[in-house]
């Protein structure tokens, strides 16, 4: 019999042996199912549609305003994945992660599915007819100057229709607002070059000096510039391009730079003048007034002001003088500060001094149809709307493609002011913070199920009109395309207008056919032309080049570097990441789970502090820090980040939603809220890097959720991610 020494351990051993032996026998049964699943065949279908075979349709990505053309893989009537359209000159077959997440926007479970009317705190589902009737009712007796339309950047035929609707309302109050926009750059470019957005050729430059322009991440047209960047690295004449990035907080482009120069926040303009001075010292010829203007910026003074070493300034001037053409790009140096326009003028002056205008900075083409040309947003528009709401001048407010309750600084009190309007309509995809404040929410089709056209602001070659066509049937029967909604609203006011158009598609087709001669051979058959447009997804119009009018402005007045505020000693840099931007895509889980390239943090916000500064303050990674400005405080986990100026801290924009959906709500904090109301002196744009904050430990510490790997981003002497110096490498033999 079994004696008492047979304990648990022995029992498990016996079990294990027996079990292992039996497991070897394998199994003979299959998992073939009989009659459990249903096969749903088609009823009536086009010949090229076969189950199991994908068909590709071209359309346009709407995740940002770069206007990349996409090719959607469609199988069994649903779109599965997006690829780049190789025929587009903007993205040439490539895409970015944000664009890939377009399918998650389309299939998002938190999309609004039917018109919602406010009833207390809730939204009651109503029919479209009722919604349109209600709008007509509320507009009755309201004069045009009391009706405001606040939208994001807009272009294409939707813009044309919107203009017509506003006309029918006798309203001129169309405000175009973007929380993150290169508005100061546009104004500065206009002054310096005669156009807002010239064409940049990074691939033709031998040196690119970027003052905070994150062209690989979120600046203007990142997919296009990334491709130019790849060519740039292969080199002009076999000599690899050199990238120098000047900024206070490292962006993605800064992480790819050959030299990243950390500058004291706000002193980028001083550095630019210092480089002009050094170029003069190095013997580059320049107009005498420019040389005069640069005289006070000798390298010692500049080094003291900016924190960049004199050695770096001299080296930079040397390489800029020697390797030409170069290209100087303008980015956060302009958008960040009250003297941003002056910074921009100095930086553009550097371009002109180096002779890059006409070589790597060229004229862009004018859009031949002003009605569909892009109207780009800026932050000054928000102030105007806010003032009007606060004064009670706005009775009816429409919002479209914008979320000002989330993106406006709390100090503006936009939410309270919005409540003062009598009637608020939001055209929205999600119940985001702004839609929650509206009286009527009208649900929109996603970009993948709607018709439209889009003209991007940045046009690399001629003018490309990107066409949007549905990649599948509408997911939710009660959403509508913005074009269709506008048509219905216009017909309310002017029943005869557009009566020959049943829907937006008919309008679009007719509008394009009307201009067929501009796009193609005028003798081409209508249907052939239209089918050609749809199948390629783009229309290339030559367009006349704008006139490049380069005016070097030597009357630059740069302020001395700001004194540190004793109470609020740090500069807050709210960072714009490629995947989150201004937060409109926070409810797409791939983007939340995609690690931030610089910090590898996911699903949460963080405060970047330089390790030396953190050591001084006794802050370690994971400490919850209260970041407090004059206008409020937000708490975020500390992350020690070497790529930031010690006088600055950085929190990413885009998280901290209180609504919008299950993947956005409750994750992270929103730095937009605590921004100080400092504006660029010339353009009135919100100066994004002028918020001064103080830090204090809250007393809690968390584990930072990041993707640094087991070694914490260190290689420990192993040859994992290797770097070679350019003088040790021969790129000419490469394929």
């Amino acid at each position: 019999m079994i004696d008492n020494n047979f304990d648990r351990r022995d029992f498990l051993k016996v079990l294990g042996w027996g079990g292992a032996a039996v497991a070897l026998s394998g199994c003979g049964n299959t998992s073939v199912e009989d009659g459990k699943e249903t096969v749903v065949s088609y009823v009536e279908v086009a010949e090229y549609v076969a189950p199991g075979i994908s068909v590709y349709f071209n359309s346009t990505c709407a995740q940002c305003d770069a206007g990349c053309s996409i090719s959607g893989r469609v199988r069994e009537g649903r779109v599965l994945k997006l690829e780049g359209n190789p025929d587009s000159v903007i993205n040439r077959g490539k895409m970015c992660g944000l664009g890939q997440a377009g399918v998650q926007h389309h299939y998002n479970p938190d999309r609004v599915r039917e018109p919602l009317l406010r009833s207390g705190d809730k939204g009651e589902a109503i029919t479209w007819d009722k919604a349109y009737t209600l709008i007509a009712e509320k507009l009755n007796g309201v004069s045009g100057d009391q009706i405001d339309f606040l939208t994001g950047s807009i272009s294409g035929h939707t813009k044309a229709l919107l203009g017509n609707y506003l006309e029918s309302l006798s309203s001129k109050n169309h405000f175009v607002y973007e929380a993150v926009s290169p508005a100061v750059q546009r104004a500065a470019n206009m002054k310096s070059y005669g156009m807002e957005m010239p064409r940049f050729s990074i691939n033709k430059a031998k040196v690119v000096l970027s003052f905070g322009a994150d062209f690989l991440g979120a600046w203007v047209s990142p997919v296009h510039f990334s491709q130019q960047y790849a060519e740039f690295r292969k080199g002009v004449d076999g000599k690899r391009g050199v990238l120098v990035q000047v900024e206070s907080k490292m962006t993605l482009t800064g992480a790819n730079a050959d030299r990243w120069l950390a500058v004291r926040p706000g002193t980028e303009g001083i550095l630019a003048m210092g480089i002009i001075n050094a170029l003069g010292v190095a013997g580059l010829s320049m107009p005498s007034n420019v040389q005069e203007a640069a005289k006070p910026y000798d390298k010692e003074r500049v080094s003291k002001d900016t924190g960049v070493t004199t050695e770096s300034i001299v080296k930079l001037a040397a390489i800029l003088k020697e390797r030409t053409p170069s290209l100087v790009l303008l980015g956060s140096a302009a958008e960040g500060y009250a003297h941003g326009s002056q910074n921009a003028a100095a930086i553009n002056l550097l371009n002109q001094v180096l002779g890059n205008v006409g070589k790597t900075l060229e004229a862009s083409a004018a859009v031949p149809f002003p009605q569909i040309a892009p109207t780009m947003g800026n932050t000054a528009a928000l102030r105007m709307v806010n003032n009007r709401l606060a004064d009670g001048q706005t009775k009816v407010l429409f919002t479209y493609a914008t979320n000002p309750v989330f993106t406006s600084p709390a100090e503006l009190k936009f939410k309270e002011n919005m409540a003062k309007a009598n009637f608020r309509v939001a055209f929205a995809h999600y119940l985001d913070e702004t839609a929650l404040q509206a009286d009527l929410v009208l649900p929109l089709d996603s970009a993948l199920e709607d018709w439209g056209t889009l003209v991007a602001e940045y046009q690399p070659e001629g003018v490309q009109i990107s066409v949007q066509q549905p990649l599948m049937e509408k997911l939710h029967p009660e959403t509508r395309g913005m074009g269709d909604i506008l048509l219905a609203l216009i017909k309310q006011r002017q029943p005869d207008a557009y009566k020959s158009f049943d829907d937006y598609y008919a309008y679009l087709r007719t509008a394009m056919l009307k201009n067929k001669s501009e796009f193609a051979n005028s003798g081409m058959d209508d249907d052939v032309f239209w089918n050609g447009v749809l199948s390629s997804g783009i229309i290339n119009v030559g367009g006349n080049l704008n006139k490049l009018n380069s005016k070097p402005d030597s009357s630059i007045k740069l302020p001395a570097p700001a004194e540190q505020d004793a109470k609020y000693p740090f500069t807050l840099i709210p960072s714009v990441t490629a995947n989150l931007r201004d937060g409109r895509h926070a409810n797409q889980p791939w983007l939340q789970e995609s690690p931030d390239p610089l910090t590898t943090i996911v699903w949460d916000s963080w405060v970047e502090i330089h390790p030396k500064k953190a050591a001084e303050l006794g802050i370690v990674e994971g400490d919850i820090i209260a970041v407090e400005s004059k206008n409020g405080a937000i708490n975020a986990q500390a992350y020690l980040f070497p790529g930031i100026h010690p006088d600055a801290v950085s929190i990413p924009l885009g998280r901290g939603h209180e609504a919008m959906g299950r993947y956005a709500k409750g994750y992270g904090v929103n730095p937009f809220q605590i921004l100080d109301r400092v504006f660029d002196e010339e353009t009135g744009e919100l100066a994004m890097h002028e918020t001064k904050v103080k830090l204090s430990k809250v007393g809690k510490r968390v584990i930072v959720v990041k993707d640094e790997g087991f070694a914490g981003g260190a290689q420990h002497g192993k040859k994992i991610a290797m770097t070679k110096s350019s003088d040790q490498v021969d790129l000419s033999e490469e394929v």
């Binding site: 016996v14 009989d34 009823v43």
Partner: protein
């Protein structure tokens, strides 16, 4: 004491294991008894025998001695078989395409039901009879291309090898086990790779598989089917 028990349990386990091995004969294809799968009821009892069955009523192999079949090629309806991975159920318009012109059966109960679906523009919810698990990817096109187009075998023989003699059935009923071992047993046969013997079209590369074609004793090029896990499981 318990050492003895451990040892005997081990022995019993090994015995059980090895006996289950010997129960299955090595590498012979599973015999395919008829009616392996259950009879599945479909929304419309589609008569394959009427459509694909033999025409001559005096032919003993004809299923219905009263009426002949129309000998319609399997791929007329299951047209996707030669184009992609799934053979597919034809769209409703294929049925209606013929039946809208066949007055003689227009009022029969099954056809009436068919037209009900058509009027409502609703697809018929067929139940899937040959349903492989989701982790298997079977590709019809390659099998059709090989056996029908390249080796010129009759279509009903090729389709019937896996789906059984459908022309004797009304609705389809699974006739073979469709287990992996059953598929592999065919893949391990030496198949002739060229219709008329000799090296295959398009060079050896075309017949890429783990086992390359080789000439057998009689000078005919034979090869085995793919036996790479990732050919079907990915």
């Amino acid at each position: 004491m318990h050492r003895f028990i451990r040892f005997s349990i081990l022995l019993m386990g090994l015995f059980a294991a090895s006996s289950s091995y010997s129960a299955d004969a090595a590498l012979e294809p599973l015999t395919t008894a008829d009616d392996l799968g259950p009879a599945i009821e479909q929304p419309i009892e589609f008569p394959h025998n009427r459509h694909a069955g033999l025409r001559n009523p005096n032919d003993p192999s004809n299923s219905d001695p009263l009426k002949g079949g129309m000998e319609i090629n399997c791929m007329y309806c299951h047209t996707y078989a030669r184009r992609g991975s799934v053979a597919g159920i034809p769209p409703l318009q294929k049925c209606i395409g013929c039946h809208q012109n066949i007055e003689s059966v227009r009022e029969t109960p099954r056809i009436k039901k068919l037209f009900e679906y058509w009027e409502a523009k609703k697809p018929v919810p067929w139940k899937k009879v040959h349903d492989l698990p989701d982790f298997v990817r079977f590709n019809h096109e390659r099998h059709i291309k090989r056996f029908v187009f390249q080796q010129n075998r009759p279509v009903q023989e090729v389709c019937g090898a896996c789906h059984g003699d459908v022309k004797t059935m009304t609705v389809a009923r699974r006739q073979k086990s469709l287990a992996m071992g059953w598929c592999v047993s065919c893949h391990e046969k030496d198949h002739v790779v060229a219709a008329a013997g000799g090296m295959p079209v398009g060079s050896q590369a075309y017949w890429y598989s783990f086992k390359k074609p080789a000439l057998n004793g009689a000078g005919v090029a034979v090869a085995k089917g793919p036996n790479d896990c990732s050919s079907c499981h990915y």
